[in-house]
Symmetry: C2
Subunit: 173 residues, 2 copies
DNA sequence: CCCGAGTAGATGATACGTCAACTTGATACT
DNA sequence: AGTATCAAGTTGACGTATCATCTACTCGGG
């Protein structure tokens, strides 16, 4: 994977007023694309091998498990997952069909709905979690030095902040 | 996002023999999940705003543009993208329908197929590339110090290597 | 009380990704 | 030649993600 990000047949100067990426930057960006594509696939496969959960299933169950009674309002859940509400709705429907969660009406708000983890769901995540965590360790956290883990945290926080302000109406670049 | 990765109602010790993540590790892992989920969404939105290309469309066109005549054998293209062949086949079909690429039979190998970028496809990527690159800069490369970019490259390379050996039949942990 | 604006969530259409067949042509071995 | 095997690519089914749209409810004035 040593090719350039753009090498149109002609000269790059055919597109003037444009800063392209130098070689080092291209390498880092390619590496990002590579890892961010393959890591979730590896985690997903790992989960599938040890449980009937997908990565999104797992994320949902983690959120629910973290809250008292294993229940959360749909919007709160969506926000915790950084998902769109419609995505959550679709996903919960599928998980409900498999018995991992149920939906319950909300008393104080007639529009609202609770998403509740079932016993089946609890058993599923408790069975899946150990290997999942150890895969995360093996592929990422234990692969890096403590200093690298710290650096990575700082880097991701910085990028995360950019993403915040990018979706923010202020500073649309 | 200051919650723990796992906080079952009971004590963590109900699942013994398991190393969980400490707080710092959880933070880093959460940050990874957060950024790796939101960055592609931001890039995708950006592309949609300036062109009719999706992120995968863009990736395909980049690969094709990097090669003479803008043509590549399907397998080579799949490998360059790190995609499964079937995924490529589906995607090329959709792109073909929109006139971005065409498929051509291969003379030397009766099974093979070329994927060829059309003029429309070329125009599309040339229109989309400048803003896309500048968004990548804005959100990532220019947000970090040169040292951080180097660090990130090292970190990603390390993880990439783990991913390689994870899918490798040898060392299945 | 009623009306309009906003909110919570669900739904349908479409695009995307994966897996498991399947088809067809290349290769190798007899 | 004949057959087994493998490689290239396609297809169909299904799960997943996004967008636009819809329904039902809440709330804050008139």
């Amino acid at each position: 994977m040593t090719c350039q990000l753009f090498r149109y047949s002609g000269d790059v100067d055919t597109l003037p007023h444009q800063r392209w990426l130098d070689q080092d930057q291209q390498d880092v960006w390619r590496a990002w694309l590579d890892v961010s594509a393959r890591l979730p696939v590896a985690l997903h496969r790992d989960l599938q091998a040890n449980s009937d959960l997908s990565l999104p299933d797992f994320d949902v169950l983690v959120q629910l498990s973290e809250h008292p009674d294993g229940r959360l309002r749909a919007s709160a859940l969506a926000q915790g997952l950084q998902w769109e509400r419609s995505r959550l709705s679709h996903h919960v429907r599928r998980m409900e069909r498999r018995g991992l969660v149920t939906r319950e009406e909300c008393d104080d708000d007639g529009r609202g709905a609770w998403v509740v983890v079932t016993d089946t769901g609890r058993r599923a995540i408790e069975a899946a979690a150990p290997t999942h965590v150890s895969t995360v360790r093996h592929l990422v956290l234990d692969a890096l030095t403590p200093a690298q883990v710290r650096d990575l945290g700082d880097i991701l926080t910085t990028i995360g902040a950019r993403l915040d302000s990018a979706s923010d109406p202020k500073d649309p670049r």
